[in-house]
């Protein structure tokens, strides 16, 4: 048996299951009904053959008893006794008349004889062709019926005899023999079987064996199984040409047996017709059931299909969905619930969109304010600073000769601080610009980028011994300008803090970490106290005094912001006077 595929739809599963169930039920019922009808037919046939046999036996018993009485009357007749006693010499006419009275010259009796004890036939009445020759075996009592015998191949004869005595209780002096013929012909058979219904066969023969007849012709004796005599007639099944059902019974006091039999095939013919008709009806029932189940499943699955389509549409973002499922049943309720849900989702979505629009607007306004602020800072803060610086320089240039050394030193401090303030403003603006700028993402060849930044750093470093080693770096996905800014800051940083080393060593490398790549910039510079590692990336956070290493404290904050905007992480490891390593992670260029 092949397994049903798992993705069979309910629309196919339900009718298939129902049809299979219906088929099984109908087949079982059909089988049971057929069995019952068959049993009933066989029982009825058994009853029929039993009743038929019983009736035939009873009828035969009556006629035999009648003949016995007649024969007893005949042998008790004084004229017959006298005739036999005289060895047929006296009273012949009297005897013949008496015999004619007892057994008329009509069938089945075909002849009547009187024998003396010496084996001489005294009288033969009737057809001499049927005469006993030699004399039949003597009977010990009166009214004994003999088995059938065949004569001339076609005739079945049986005789009944009774003894003639001298006086009522005297010695046996002779016998009377009545020879009876069984009529065997198509007409006889039809006549007799017609009485029992045309389909019934009536068999007559000797209980002990051949000959037998079906009243049309001589036949072999039926199987011994059916010829067993029971106390009451029972029906048995046996083979005689074909399968038969028959009941046998012996005529009491004779060796002769009757069998009524029916052909099993004929008995069961109506049940086969019944089976055919019922099969047709069953097929119609299964067909109608299957169609009904299909219709019902369509009725169920059609709304389900609608729901599925609508749900899929909602899932893909088309929220304006409405399903039309009429009725108050479960499906109808589901449909209405679905519609309520869909409109709720739509309402919630539009609310959300409204809110998002509001927030976006608010954000945009805030951003615009921030931009205006940055613009002001950029423009309005720098202008006075430039003036301070410029006029301080003018003072020094134009009136330097008139100034005391202390005045010159103070002017120098002003000069230095305005410079730093300018740098601070520039860095601060760069940092804030970074947060607002849109990412322009693309594939970035990190090896190339680091190499060109390193060239710049080397140029700035001048004659100072500085070794920068760059390992082959996997490409990243990100904004080239921003990443360049971050790398520049890291390398500048490394170059700055290795200033007191000879040579300063900077190593740029990477290692894979799952889907991310970890890039690192390692130096042998001043390092930092690991207790303050968390402060490294804060804006304006510095771990060194300005006299040692200049800077505004914005560089690493910019690195952190760039990396975070790319979805990466940044951290640092280091020891005081033992170098520092800065790590940052980026997604690979192959990622979508």
């Amino acid at each position: 048996m092949t397994r049903l595929p798992r993705d069979w739809s309910i629309e196919r599963k339900l009718p298939s299951f129902f049809s299979a169930l219906l088929l099984v039920v109908v087949l079982v019922m059909l089988g049971a009904a057929y069995q019952q009808v068959r049993t009933a037919a066989l029982t009825f046939a058994s009853e029929r053959v039993k009743r038929s046999t019983k009736e035939w036996v009873n009828a035969s018993l009556r006629s035999t008893a009648q003949q016995r009485t007649q024969l007893a009357t005949l042998v008790g007749d004084p004229g017959i006794r006298d005739f036999v006693a005289s060895k047929g010499t006296r009273g012949r006419d009297w005897a013949l008349a008496a015999m004619r009275r007892v057994a008329p010259d009509n069938a089945p009796n075909v002849a009547m004889e009187l024998w003396d004890t010496g084996g001489h036939r005294l009288v033969l009445r009737g057809d001499s062709a049927f005469a006993s020759d030699p004399a039949p075996l003597p009977a010990s009592d009166s009214g004994v019926v003999s088995p059938y015998r065949v004569q001339h191949d076609t005739l079945l004869l049986s005789d009944m005899q009774a003894v003639v005595r001298q006086g009522t209780e005297g010695a046996v002096i002779g016998r009377v023999v009545v020879i009876r013929r069984l009529n065997v012909s198509a007409v006889a058979r039809q006549t007799l079987t017609g009485i029992s219904g045309g389909d019934m066969s009536l068999l007559i023969g000797n209980a002990a064996g051949d000959p037998w007849t079906d009243l049309e012709k001589i036949i072999p004796a039926p199987p011994a199984a059916v010829r067993v005599v029971h106390d009451s007639a029972i029906a048995v099944s046996y083979e005689r040409g074909d399968a038969k059902i028959g009941a046998a019974a012996r005529i009491p006091g004779t060796p002769i047996m009757f069998i009524s039999e029916l052909s099993r095939r004929q008995v069961l013919a109506p049940t086969r017709v019944y089976l055919r008709r019922m099969s047709l009806i069953a097929a119609v029932i299964v067909l109608v059931g299957a169609l009904g189940a299909w219709w019902v499943s369509r009725r169920i699955t059609k709304p389900l299909r609608h729901l599925t389509t609508a749900a899929a549409a909602i899932a893909s973002g088309e929220l304006a969905q409405h399903v039309d499922i009429p009725g108050t049943d479960e499906l109808g309720r589901l449909g209405r619930s679905f519609n309520v849900m869909a409109s709720e989702v739509q309402r919630a979505r539009s609310n959300l969109e409204h809110q998002v629009a509001e927030r976006t607007q608010a954000l945009r306004e805030t951003n615009a304010e921030l931009e205006a602020f940055s613009y002001s800072v950029s423009h309005d803060l720098r202008a006075p600073l430039r003036a301070i610086h410029g006029f301080a320089r003018i003072l020094l240039e134009d009136h330097g000769a008139e100034l005391q050394p202390e005045a010159k030193r103070v002017l120098g401090v002003i000069d230095e601080n305005t410079r730093r303030m300018g740098q601070l403003i520039d860095d601060l603006l760069a940092f804030s610009r970074l947060g607002r700028k849109e990412l322009e993402t693309g594939r970035v060849d990190m090896t190339d980028l680091v190499r060109s930044v390193a060239d710049e750093v080397r140029r700035t470093a001048g004659d100072r011994p500085l070794e920068i080693t760059i390992g082959p770096l996997p490409p990243a996905r990100g904004d080239r300008d921003m990443l360049r800014q971050a790398v520049t800051n890291l390398l500048d940083n490394a170059a700055k803090f290795t200033r007191r080393r000879a040579p300063g060593q900077i190593e740029v490398g990477h290692r894979a970490d799952g889907a991310e790549t970890v890039y690192y910039v390692k130096d042998n510079g001043a390092g930092f106290d690991p207790r303050y590692a968390g402060k490294l990336f804060g804006v304006f956070q510095r771990l060194h005094r300005a006299e040692e290493f200049e800077g505004t404290g914005v560089g690493l904050a910019i690195v952190q912001r760039v990396v975070q905007r790319h979805g990466g992480r940044v951290w640092a490891e280091g020891q005081l006077e033992a170098g520092a390593t800065f790590f940052f992670t980026l997604r690979g260029a192959s990622d979508a």
């Binding site: 931009e371 940055s374 613009y375 950029s378 423009h379 309005d380 720098r382 202008a383 006075p384 600073l385 430039r386 003036a387 610086h389 410029g390 006029f391 301080a392 320089r393 003018i394 305005t418 410079r419 303030m421 300018g422 403003i425 520039d426 603006l429 610009r433 700028k437």
Partner: protein, 147 residues
């Protein structure tokens, strides 16, 4: 003060300190004699397109270069730039935007409107003086405007 008909450099600058520093830088290169200063956008427009009420208008005077600040009272620098580049008569005058703004949108808009250079004024005076005098030298002495 230089007369309009002799103008070679038109400086549009509202901040008097910046104006003075600019003039000083130009003076160090001996370029300050033909400089005319407008103190806001409206004055700059008056210089080219006015009805003469401010005695600034002088038909036919074409400076060799305009140094234009962006953040100006009344009419801002970008508007002045737009008007100058719209007018056929003034379209070919080189305009150098000299401003404190480093903002990308400003730079992009200035170039879109036809600015010939965009220079961010450094806070550092030496750097500022160098930038201004380089601009003056370039546009006045090295550049050949169409005849």
């Amino acid at each position: 003060m230089t007369q309009p008909h002799e103008v070679e450099i038109l400086l549009v600058e509202d901040n008097p300190s910046d104006a003075e520093l600019t003039l000083r830088a130009l003076k160090q290169r001996n370029l300050a004699n033909q400089v005319f200063v407008c103190h806001d956008g409206a004055e700059a427009l008056e210089f080219f397109f006015g009805d003469g009420s401010h005695a600034l208008r002088e038909i036919g005077v074409v400076p060799k270069v305009i140094l234009l600040d962006l953040k100006l009272p009344k009419v801002d620098g970008l508007e002045v730039l737009r008007r100058l580049k719209e007018e056929a008569r003034t379209k070919s005058i080189p305009v150098v935007v000299l401003t404190s703004s480093r903002e990308e949108p400003d730079i992009a808009r200035a170039y879109r409107l036809g600015a010939n250079s965009y220079i961010v004024k450094p806070v550092d005076f030496e750097a500022f003086a160098r930038a201004v005098s380089d601009v003056g030298l370039y546009w006045l002495l090295l550049n050949h405007p169409p005849r």
